[in-house]
């Protein structure tokens, strides 16, 4: 059949933020692009908190605000350190975030991805849904020349395959390009969507119009495991979730849903969700291994983008922006090679890695390359002891009970010293500073 003899300029595996970005940029430049998505539509299988960082998308679709489904722009960021009954918080709220082109939005991925993917089709890419790529097709020299799917028929051929297949990287694994994802480099996050009238949300979080607030939380809520909790305000709902490193879940035998139930009933979270109706729940893996967990990113005829490449900045809770940026950069690499009629060899595609080095993606991941191991190695202190100490210190300080302030200071200091020796604390502080730089 003539149909299968056709060869695409590029096949993109997956229709999440990285795949949509890659497919859009290539199609827009006139490349003959095929995108293959296993879900019924783009977004049907995709899960995130979710916050959209405008900058990465602006570089791809500058006027996205005109029709993209956005929930609220974020004007207030709360960072909470929690013990079982309290939270010590840092809130940053600024009217500057009410700018004409807001910096961050809460979004619902099922709607947002669908919109993004419609743009991909408008740009001229062909998209197959409900089709799972099972493996890559290689020629005798080992060059990837196409993909096989779970549908009957011949393989589909292309000059290059962009693997935007998500965190598990199953196609890459099956094709022998990468190892299985290690349990200590991925977090399992669970989340729920709680519906509330918009007026209630606005009153509870002190918001007006489309302003939004987000809470990122850490502490004893993860029961000594490496992880964080979050709460994001959408237009008429609240996304609340918690996630921890998979190997920690396995060791602790704590179930993710029990952790979420406990987080939701924490005295600082419970009133924010009161009277809401839970309408959705979801779970997803997040690659949090950082720089050191990044797999081989390119080879003869293939490139890896997005979560499949472990492109998540766990410290700053950024992922979809790294996904879109790596998708865009991969697309630009392929466009440049296609224009010059150069072959999609590993040597030529190495340009993708070089281009990435120049972006915030690699610079940030490199900067924090020591953090995942540090936090994971000292999880009992960072996610248990310290939050408790901070909370106890705050309580000692604020509680008025006839004890003089000098004695209070002494008590706080003694508590720190006895719980986690001076050397232990100095050591952790030193390691944290070194990993941060």
């Amino acid at each position: 059949m003539a149909m299968t003899e056709e060869k695409f300029d590029a096949i993109v595996v997956g229709a999440g933020p990285s795949g949509n970005a890659a497919a859009y940029v290539m199609a827009k430049e006139g490349l003959n692009v095929l995108q293959i998505e296993r879900g019924e539509y783009s977004g049907s299988k995709n899960v995130q908190g979710a916050i959209l960082y405008s900058d990465a998308l602006e570089q791809i679709i500058p006027d996205f605000r005109e029709d993209a489904p956005l929930e609220r722009h974020v004007t207030e960021q709360r960072m909470w350190m929690m013990d079982d009954k309290s939270h010590t918080g840092m809130h940053y709220r600024s009217d500057d975030f009410n700018e004409e082109k807001p910096n961050r939005y809460t979004i619902l991925r099922a709607q947002f991805d669908k919109w993004f993917n419609a743009k991909v089709r408008e740009a001229g890419a062909l998209v197959l849904y409900e089709t799972t790529v099972t493996e890559l097709v290689k020629d005798l020299k080992g060059q990837v020349v196409g993909v096989r799917t779970d549908r009957s028929g011949s393989p589909i051929m292309a000059n290059v395959v962009i693997l935007a297949e998500g965190v598990n990287g199953l196609v890459g694994q099956r094709s022998g390009l990468r190892d299985e994802v290690a349990p200590d480099t991925v977090a399992l996050a669970v989340k729920e969507m709680h519906f509330l009238p918009r007026e209630t949300i606005e009153a509870r979080f002190n918001l007006s119009g489309n302003e939004g607030a987000v809470i990122e939380a850490m502490g004893t809520i993860t029961k000594g495991m490496t992880g964080t909790g979050f709460l994001y305000t959408n237009e008429e709902s609240i996304s609340v979730g918690i996630g921890c490193i998979v190997s920690d879940f396995a060791d602790s035998e704590v179930t993710p849903y029990a952790l979420l139930e406990a987080f939701k009933s924490h005295p600082s979270i419970k009133p924010l969700l009161a009277d809401s109706e839970c309408k959705e729940y979801a779970a997803h893996l997040i690659p949090e291994g950082g720089y050191k967990a990044i797999p081989q990113l390119y080879g003869n005829g293939w490139i890896v983008v997005g979560d499949a490449g472990q492109f998540v900045n766990a410290v700053h809770r950024e992922g979809s922006n790294l996904a879109m940026t790596t998708g865009r950069v991969a697309a630009e690499t392929v466009i440049a090679l296609t224009r010059k009629r150069e072959e999609m060899s590993a040597a030529n595609l190495a340009d993708y890695a070089r281009r990435l080095e120049q972006t915030f993606v690699m610079k940030d991941l490199k900067k924090y390359k020591g953090i995942p191991a540090l936090l994971h190695g000292n999880k009992r202190n960072f996610f248990g002891t310290y939050p408790q100490l901070v909370s106890q210190a705050m309580q000692t300080w604020f509680r008025v009970d006839g004890v003089d302030k000098k004695s209070k200071e002494k008590a706080i200091f003694r508590n720190f010293r006895e719980t986690r020796t001076i050397f232990g604390m100095l050591g952790d502080a030193f390691k944290l500073v070194r990993a941060w730089r």
Partner: protein, 284 residues
């Protein structure tokens, strides 16, 4: 041989949500699907085509977004999709729908050849009337075979078809001359998974799109709301149950779980506990 399958794009009733605040049906974000009953009709049509050769045309009436259901039908392997869409069709009941579809079928016959069989599902999951298929048959003066569970055999050259039909208390075996309208029963076959080639063709395909004028409808009072004697007086969501599921804490042992469960039940329904005690007392 030419078979036409009439399908309808419907909201996925399994995923319809009621807005928790306004208590109205949330249409936004609810995925649409091909009416599941229509898939049995489509698969049966594809099987006949695979056996006897010929072409399967899929026809749908709906808003422009209904083109998506035609694309899906092509992914399964249908040969051609026709979308009948016009704002004058908005609000059509079964009478107006069967009128518009019968006009479109006349145009399909003129353009692509007289169909030997027109298939529909037994009914839709959103309307549940099972009237549109028979309405089309009546208007086109076709024989109609409703609630068909099996095509026994077909002789297209001789213009005869034999089917099994579900009837109260048994199965009827019916024979009809062609052309015929068949409404297909659920669970009669299993929809195939289209090949890569089908999927690629479908992804590229542009549906043939006709409006009321294209299919020769001159009297617009027979269309849409004006042509529909059925009146929907009110749409409402059933009131939700006030009782909610409860998570019962228990230790991991079977006895512990059973005890915790029974305690939780007795706590919420003391009458049950009293009842059981009374019964036990009577027995001894």
């Amino acid at each position: 041989m030419h078979i036409v399958v009439c399908i309808k794009q419907v909201p996925d009733s399994a995923q319809i949500r009621v807005h928790p605040v306004t208590n109205t049906i949330m249409r936004q974000g609810v995925p649409t699907i091909i009416n599941p009953y229509d898939l049995f009709a489509l698969e049966e049509a594809l099987r006949l085509r695979d056996t006897f050769g010929g072409v399967v045309t899929v026809l749908t009436m709906g808003p422009p977004t209904a083109a998506e259901s035609l694309r899906k039908a092509l992914t399964f392997g249908a040969d051609r999709g026709v979308l009948l869409t016009d704002r004058y069709f908005a609000g059509s009941d079964t009478l107006a729908t069967s009128f518009a579809l019968s006009m479109a079928l006349k145009k399909v016959a003129a353009e692509f050849g007289q169909p030997e069989i027109v298939f529909t599902g037994k009914q839709t999951i959103d309307g549940d009337t099972a009237q549109v298929g028979p309405g089309i048959a009546k208007r086109l003066n076709y024989n109609q075979l409703t609630y068909v569970s099996k095509i026994v055999d077909a002789d297209f050259a001789g213009g005869v078809i034999r089917v099994e039909r579900r009837a109260e208390g048994g199965t009827q075996v019916l024979q009809s001359r062609l052309p015929v309208l068949i409404t297909m029963l659920e669970a009669t076959n299993e929809m195939r998974r289209g090949s890569v080639e089908n999927a690629l063709i479908a992804a590229r395909a542009q549906a043939i799109t006709w409006n009321a004028a294209d299919v020769g409808i001159e009297d617009l009072t027979k269309c849409g709301l004006r042509g529909s004697p059925t009146i929907v007086k009110k749409v409402f969501a059933p009131t939700a149950r006030t009782e909610k599921a409860v998570l019962v804490e228990a230790d991991g042992s079977t006895d512990g779980m059973a005890d915790a469960l029974i305690d939780a039940i007795f706590e919420r329904a003391p009458a049950v506990e009293e009842d059981l005690f009374e019964q036990a007392a009577r027995q001894y």
